[in-house]
Amino acid sequence: MAQLTARFRTENRRFAVEDVPFSVPATSETADLSQLINKLLAAAHEDHKYVEFDFLINGQFLRLPLVTHMEMENISTEEVVEIEYVEKYMAPQPEECIFHDDWISSVQATEEWILTGCYDQTARIWSVEGKSIMTIAGHTEVVKDVAWVKQDSLSCLLLSASMDQTVLLWEWNVEKNKVKALHCCRGHAGSVESVAVDCTRTKVSDFWKETFVFLPTDEEDEMEEATPLATLSGHTEAISSVLWLDAEEICSASWDHTIKLWDAETGDLKSTLTGNKVFNSVSYSPLCRRLASGSTDRHIRLWDPRSKDGSLVLLSLTSHTGWVTSVKWSPTHEHQLISGSLDNIVKLWDTRSCKAPLYDLAAHEDKVLCVDWTEAGLLLSGGADNKLYCYRYPATASDVGA
């Protein structure tokens, strides 16, 4: 078969072409199709500049020659095939490489600052330009997770969880550049592996084996011990990751092969998603309402947290060769997520192409331990090579529509 008839369409008005079937070579790949569209556009508009396109057939990215892809997806080659094209996502541009003294266990960034937790028992605040602003030392053990609680121009509240079984709430005065420990949350009988702040920025949860929900009080004059609001116990083994789905729901992923959803108000278990491997990390996207989990069997799996029967994997993304240590959904794009793995590679995924990632970010020289994605399009990854890499991921025009 030499030729296929295809009809092209796009959401983006700017690149729209005539809605007529075209005959394209069956073996043509993305580059060939992209060239074809560009020629059509150049014929239509005088001032057209060359744009790389990516092509979707039935919601799947085209990565192979057209006919091979259609054979694999069981699409009839007899009929007119509808191909959607979008502007190709630009590769993330490396921006900064921030050097730490020790392994970076966690990272969370906002528009202006990057907060990292480090194995040298400190948490650090950096500006997005890579300038070290503050080093917060207070823990007696490795800092395992960090989180921003509140930000305004004068002072910020932030949290750090550590293996010394405490979570510290810090207030950082931006202008004076001073930090003050506000609260020390105790209660864990093991190292605190993860900490999460809910959307309204008032409650915090964290855990090792049990999940505690703390409510930090507003008294600021002295360092006070916060007591847990609720203890969510039900996991039989270590909990590796915890997050808030919304104001009422907490999600926790554990080494006992389950992801559990809890009611934050009552502390009841709402549902359980059962996998068959240890979960290292979990992330939730409010845009597509999916959970993404990274586990020790090198797959990233997508779950629907609302499904009742609890063990349905919607999709698994497979390309890593080691444990997936952290996953993070894009806050702006419903199809994209980022994952870090023990095979030293950070991968940028689009759920529409589950066989191959969009981009591999192979900058780390050792295990990748944490990744983050800010709303401003900054990709961050930290690892055992003591480096925090920042990438600028330009939001393309089509992202806005998506």
Partner: protein, 710 residues
């Protein structure tokens, strides 16, 4: 008397008084009157006789006639009188004088009478006043005593007459009672094959015998119609053809005894060449020297069995001189040909392999290398995983013990001890945070300070709460509290042995631990209690060179592996419970199944022996998967997995399912060969350990790394 048919006996009898009345036929001659008069006399006299008659009167004719024979006097008279005859024949009961019936006469023993007559009057017993003496005298004196019997119904004595005696004697001889009855009379055959003039019966012939039957007619007409229509074939005449039977029709040609199977093909004979030709080319002819050599050769050594000869034409070829000889040899060959065929057993090698489930069905088990823990600069001899599964400790030849975080591969602590670390063992009790390290001649109890702070503090408290006993006991080791510098490193106690310690292992409860000392011939195993700081030597004499020891996970047993065997001691009763013979040259390591009934042993001759303690003291299975010496074996605590690490740098994970059903033997399936460790110094994998909760496997190698397989 008138009748000529009477026998001589009757004639003789007739001379006596009674003989007149004896026969049946001799009735008519006597007068009525005299007979009737005499009859009455008789009746009065012999009542007992009548009783006899009455009894016999019911029986069929022949005996009856007999019975009537001798009391016939009266009878015959009655016969004569027509009235009496009717009286006699009318009923059996009429003659009965006594009306009691057929009852045991003993019932009347105590009464003076023996019954009642027809009128209801009592019949009195005859007066009997004789005693024993009278009886005896009578017996002696009365010549008639032998023929006197007592009639039980009347109690009177009766003297049997001559005829009665004869009747008794005839019956005793088994003859018919009637003298006149001839049992050997010729029989008249009325219904014979011969046609008689007169019919046997006078019955007139049936009508049907001369009127044709309608039913038959109908049947015949039906048959005739069927023959006409061709439905019935008239019977064919039998052909006189001899029948034959195929004897071998039932024989299975494929059976072993089948004739074709027994066919032995003749050996193939090489085709004749130029030498056999009647006119061979000259180079094939033998020269005289060759001919001489041929003749001198032994017939079995000759290359050719004949001498090639040249004839000028085929006509000139003479008759074959060895014809008879060759025929004879051929017959001899046939005769000596082995009749027994050797059946080659065709076995598919696939069938010999036992059917095992596919490894894919036995998930989960470690398959790929996930993490490498780097940091040691020399070979890592030993490792131990914490009971929480969050950390593990490794001891190396570079003199350090490192504590690692499992999930990230981060080395959290490093204790530099300055000597080769032979063995580390994490306390299996989750509420105690303690690590035992075997270092040269010392065993250090180290608090790693990981995990819950409360537990860490509680452990320190537990160790410090010891108070010295009042009287010093003699101990095989010295317990030394750590100095402040050592305490800062985490070391809490030092247990000084007198010889290098090769292994430490904890009891499951976490208080007792055992150490193995390299001290051939002397004290080799010590059991210590850390809370009381007390050590003891469990054995009076050393059982050979001890390789390793283990506490039983459930029962108070103690397993001691010496070079070739494993001994199981009961610590409570202090006796040897079992001795396992491992069929290996030199045991290197041992692990006990968490269920407690199975033990695996690795040996330096690259064998792994699985013992089922319920089954036998011999290995249940001997696995030879490794190519070089095994250094370490381990069981998983929750999954049915066990692993062995070897000098060839590989770890082999096997499925070892133990069933609670005693009848079902353990199922052992090799699952996966895990490679990764680079062999160094001729050593490969030195220690293996499973994660306590996950199906993960740690292995430490001579290349200074610890690897995690998931």
């Amino acid at each position: 008397m008138e009748q000529p048919s009477l026998s001589s006996d009757t004639q003789e009898l007739s001379e006596s008084e009674e003989s007149v009345y004896s026969g049946l036929e001799d009735s008519g001659s006597d007068s009525e009157s005299s007979g009737s008069a005499e009859e009455e006399e008789e009746e009065e006299e012999d009542e007992d006789e009548e009783e006899d008659e009455e009894e016999s009167s019911g029986s069929p004719s022949a005996p009856q006639t007999q019975a009537r024979g001798f009391p016939g006097q009266r009878r015959s008279l009655q016969d004569d009188s027509p009235l009496d005859e009717y009286e006699q024949d009318s009923s059996d009961e009429e003659d009965i004088r006594n009306t009691v019936g057929n009852i045991p006469m003993e019932w009347y023993q105590d009464f003076p009478h023996v019954g009642y007559d027809l009128d209801g009057r009592r019949i009195y017993k005859p007066l009997r006043s004789r005693d024993e003496l009278d009886l005896f005298l009578e017996k002696m004196e009365n010549p008639e005593y032998w023929r006197t019997v007592q009639d039980r119904q009347t109690g009177a004595d009766v003297r049997l007459s001559e005829e009665q005696l004869e009747l008794v004697q005839r019956l005793q001889r088994g003859q018919f009672g009637d003298v006149n009855f001839d049992p050997y009379e010729p029989s008249v055959d009325f219904f014979s094959h011969e046609v008689r003039i007169h019919p046997v019966t006078n019955r007139p012939a049936d009508k049907r015998s001369f009127i044709p039957s309608l039913v038959e007619k109908e049947k015949v007409s039906k048959l005739v119609h069927a023959i006409k229509m061709g439905w019935i074939q008239p019977r064919k005449p039998k052909e006189n053809v001899p029948t034959f039977y195929d004897l071998w029709a039932q024989e299975d040609p494929n059976s072993i005894l089948g004739r074709h199977k027994m066919h032995v093909p003749a050996p193939k004979i090489p085709l004749p060449g130029h030498e056999e030709s009647y006119n061979p080319p000259p180079e094939f002819l033998l020269s005289p020297e060759e001919k001489l050599a041929w003749e001198q050769q032994d017939p079995s050594e000759r290359r050719l069995g004949f001498i090639p000869q040249k004839f000028r034409s085929l006509r000139a070829v003479p008759a074959y001189s060895r014809f008879i000889h060759e025929r004879f040899e051929r017959c001899l060959d046939l005769y000596l040909c082995p009749r027994q065929r050797k059946m080659r057993v065709n076995v598919d090698p696939e069938d010999l392999i036992p059917k095992l489930p596919r490894p894919r069905d036995l998930q989960p088990f470690p398959t790929t290398q996930a993490l490498i823990y780097r940091g040691h600069s020399s070979l890592v001899r030993t490792l131990s995983v914490s009971p929480s599964g969050q950390w593990f400790a490794s001891g190396s030849d570079d003199g350090s013990v490192r504590l690692w975080e499992v999930s990230s591969g981060r080395c959290l602590r490093s204790l530099t001890l300055g000597a080769v670390v032979r063995s580390v063992a994490w306390n299996p009790n989750p509420s105690i945070c303690l690590l035992a390290v075997a270092l040269e001649e010392q065993v250090l109890l180290v608090n790693p300070g990981l995990g819950d702070r409360l537990l860490v503090a509680a452990t320190d408290q537990l160790l410090d709460s010891w108070e010295a006993p009042e009287e010093e006991r003699v101990q095989p080791v010295r317990w030394i509290p750590a100095s402040p510098e050592e305490r800062a490193k985490g070391i809490r106690l030092l247990v000084q042995h007198d010889k290098p310690v090769t292994q430490v292992t904890w009891h499951a409860k976490g208080d007792y631990w055992a150490s193995v000392v390299r001290n051939p011939g002397g004290r080799q195993v010590l059991i210590h209690q850390s809370s009381r700081r007390w050590s003891q030597d469990p054995f009076r004499k050393s059982p050979g060179m001890i390789q390793c020891v283990q506490f039983h996970p459930l029962r108070p047993y103690f397993l001691v592996a010496s070079q070739r065997s494993v001994r199981i001691y009961n610590l409570l009763r202090q006796e040897l419970t079992k001795k396992l013979q491992s069929n290996c040259q030199w045991i290197s390591s041992m692990a006990v199944h968490p269920g407690g009934d199975n033990v695996i042993c690795g040996s330096y001759d690259s064998k792994l022996a699985w013992f089922d303690l319920d089954l036998s003291t011999r290995p249940y299975r001997l696995l030879r998967h490794h190519r070089r010496a095994l250094r370490s074996v381990a069981f998983h605590r929750r999954y049915p997995l066990f692993a062995s690490g070897s000098d060839d740098g590989t770890v082999i994970v096997c499925h070892g399912m133990v069933y609670s059903d005693l009848l079902q033997n353990p199922l052992l399936v090799p699952l996966k060969v895990l490679k990764g460790h680079a062999p160094a110094l001729d050593l490969g994998v030195l220690d293996v350990a499973f994660h306590p909760h996950q199906p993960w496997l740690f292995s430490s190698g001579a290349d200074g790394t610890v690897r995690l397989y998931t």
